[in-house]
């Protein structure tokens, strides 16, 4: 198989199948969740549950008081990774072209040097988080092989994207093919792992905030 054939397979059938697994998988997970339902709360509310829910959805993005001091690595590297990833994913010109193709929506890209820096930041942050996971007693204790798998499938698209763009190590076409394949892998793993938090985080925050909200607790 030539590099070009590999690339065509990667961005053709491989990504298509991966996307199908991703979409169906995520939908099934949501169905599983919502079928469980939730009993209505019969206690007399002090304030609005929905208000509390929405409040927590955004408020929980800010660390609790004292937490930055207690867990600086997780907080700083966590922010750096998520912001870096979002910039690389959403504001890299070729990605925007792809989104336009698929969803018909587009928005202005950020300059390459910004995307480039964001990618490096995300990569470094992920490496820091990996070391922290291996070294810190709590993180290590909580981690199973799945956590490392998820780390790897998140890391690979960033790394291969960076290398492809800079024409490093492998020829561009071949590296780009690996980039696409790593994205396919990420999409396949997604519905079965904690990567689901990308979506469920809003649900969880809402439920938690709603319980506090109806009691009149602002969290």
């Amino acid at each position: 198989m030539t590099d070009m054939e590999l690339l065509n397979w990667a961005r053709g059938p491989a990504l298509e199948w991966a996307t199908i697994i991703f979409v169906v998988g995520v939908l099934v997970r949501f169905l599983e969740m919502s079928l469980l339902g939730r009993k209505p709360d019969l206690s007399e509310a002090r304030a609005s549950a929905a208000g509390g829910g929405w409040r927590t959805v955004w408020r929980r993005s800010i660390p609790a008081p004292g937490l930055v001091k207690q867990a600086p690595v997780v907080i700083y590297a966590g922010y750096a990774f998520h912001i870096g990833l979002l910039i690389a994913l959403l504001f890299f010109a070729p990605h925007i072209l792809l989104f336009k193709d698929v969803f018909g929506l587009s928005w202005p890209a950020l300059p390459f040097f910004v995307v480039d820096a964001a990618t490096v930041i995300a990569i470094v942050a992920l490496l820091v988080l990996l070391v922290h996971r291996l070294v810190n007693p709590v993180r290590r204790f909580l981690s199973s092989w799945v956590d490392y798998l998820v780390w790897a499938v998140t890391f690979l698209p960033l790394l291969t994207g960076y290398l492809a763009y800079h024409r490093m190590i492998l020829p561009y076409t071949e590296m780009l093919a690996y980039h696409m394949l790593s994205v396919a892998l990420l999409l396949v793993v997604f519905p079965f792992t904690k990567l689901m938090h990308t979506f469920t985080i809003f649900v969880s925050r809402w439920y938690n905030g709603a319980v506090s909200g109806r009691k009149g607790v602002q969290l």
Binding site: V57, R60, H197, S204, V211
Partner: protein, 429 residues
């Protein structure tokens, strides 16, 4: 026998799993930040006390029973079911090292309400006979006798009579048609009975009508702590029956955090219908009197430097946050907040049934070091609180660490500073 129990335990957990639980397990990224929120981890440094790890049995049940992937794995025999031995191993984590204080729930970045999960996992433990002995015995006493400490109506009557005598105010028991029904925690009948006299003084001062029932006086709910909705429901029903029989407008939860949660927020859900009366924490009632101008204080404000310990269930989990502060302002001159006060407060270490669990005592006293460092940073002479269980725990902790500090009840403090000459007797608003 134990296999059957285990089956019931798993079934009980399955019944507890709802959409929020599924979302929480789906969302957890194993960041470990909940550990930093929990005093059982921060004060011991032992990773096994990481909050989300405490509910691992529940996660396994959820995964195997309610996810496609988990079901497939267990059908293929690739995943292990939760066993008796697992629950034995987790008992300490679920009961001894969690006070259901909800601090982790307030910190988790993905929004997991871990205290809610602990409450639910305990259902499985209780049903399958894996609850701790202390709690199980207390639960039996509550169901049979009416109170976890085995206090009978006779004892209550004696205590009430002696408090009525001491305060010079008549306290009428089982009186129908009054506005308020006061509930009590066992500790308030046995150790801190001055609380009863203090309430009598305030009620008399504010001109409010109230009573205590000899049929249902115990406010704490062991069912909630052990994780048995069946027991919890029975206990709530007793209070509801009496309150509706007497026709009171408001049931007062005493100075006890868990009692408040149980009757105020969990109660209607346990009995499956809203109440025909309101439920308020005594501090809420006092604050309403304040707002209505029914409280008058003498000029002798407390000038000792003091602070307020927020009972987790009343404040972070209950939503009564500002009331105690407003009341303290009225009767204390030198009030200082602890670091991490209000909804961010750290637990006394004995909530959620931990205080009833003898085995947990050394651990509970160890993690009191968190409260100690909070207190050390402000250097106060006294600590006011609104939970008799906290009060006990704080006193034991202070003693353990050789700290010289008074622990006071807010209601009692307030009552001491009322100006009797200005009482608004009969002037019901």
């Amino acid at each position: 026998m134990s296999a059957l129990n285990m089956e019931r335990g798993v079934k009980a957990m399955m019944e507890q799993i709802d959409a929020p639980i599924a979302s929480y397990f789906n969302s957890c990224v194993h960041c470990g930040l909940c550990a930093d929120a929990c005093l059982f981890y921060t004060e011991t440094g032992d990773p096994k006390y990481t909050p989300i790890h405490k509910v691992e049995p529940l996660r396994r049940v959820w995964k195997q029973e309610y996810t496609f992937w988990g079901k497939l794995m267990s059908t293929l025999g690739l995943s292990r079911r939760v066993t008796d031995a697992d629950l034995d191993a987790w008992q300490e984590l679920v009961y001894d090292s969690c006070t259901m204080c909800g601090r982790c729930s307030a910190v988790c970045p993905v929004g997991n309400d871990i205290a809610y999960m602990v409450r639910k996992v305990r259902e499985g433990f209780a049903v399958s006979g894996h609850a701790t002995e202390g709690l199980a015995e207390a639960a039996i006493r509550t169901v049979n006798i009416g109170s976890p400490m085995g206090i009978k109506a006779e004892t209550l009557k004696k205590m009430v009579a002696s408090e009525a005598k001491a305060s010079g105010i008549e306290i009428e028991l089982d009186k129908p048609g009054v506005e308020y029904l006061l509930m009590l925690s066992s500790a308030e009948i046995m150790q801190f009975h001055e609380f009863i006299g203090a309430v009598a003084k305030v009620m008399d001062h504010a001109g409010a009508t109230w009573t205590i029932s000899t049929e249902a006086f115990e406010a704490t709910n062991t069912g909630i702590q052990i994780g048995s909705s069946d027991i919890a429901r029975q206990l709530v029903q007793r209070v509801v029956d009496v309150a509706e029989k007497l026709g009171v407008k408001t049931v007062i939860s005493p100075e006890c955090g868990h009692a408040y949660i149980a009757i105020r927020w969990d109660g209607p859900n346990l009995i499956g219908r809203p109440y025909g009366f309101q439920v308020k924490h005594i501090v809420e009632v006092l604050d309403e009197f304040r707002a209505q101008g029914r409280l008058h204080f003498d000029d002798s404000k407390e000038d000792m430097k003091l602070t307020f310990h927020d009972p987790c269930q009343m404040v972070r989990r209950g939503g009564v946050v500002e009331q105690p502060r407003r009341l303290l302002d009225l009767c204390a001159d030198n009030f200082t907040e602890m670091p991490d006060s209000g909804v961010w407060n750290w637990c006394c270490g004995g909530g959620g049934g931990v205080s009833t669990n003898e085995r947990a005592e050394p651990l509970r006293l160890k993690v009191f070091s968190r409260k100690k460092s909070q207190l050390d940073s402000i250097g106060v002479k006294a600590m006011v609180t609104t939970c008799s269980n906290c009060r006990n725990m704080l006193e034991e902790g202070l003693e353990e660490y050789g700290m010289d500090m008074e622990v006071l009840s807010l209601t009692e403090l307030l009552a001491e500073h009322l100006d009797d000459s200005k009482a608004s007797k009969g002037a019901e608003a």
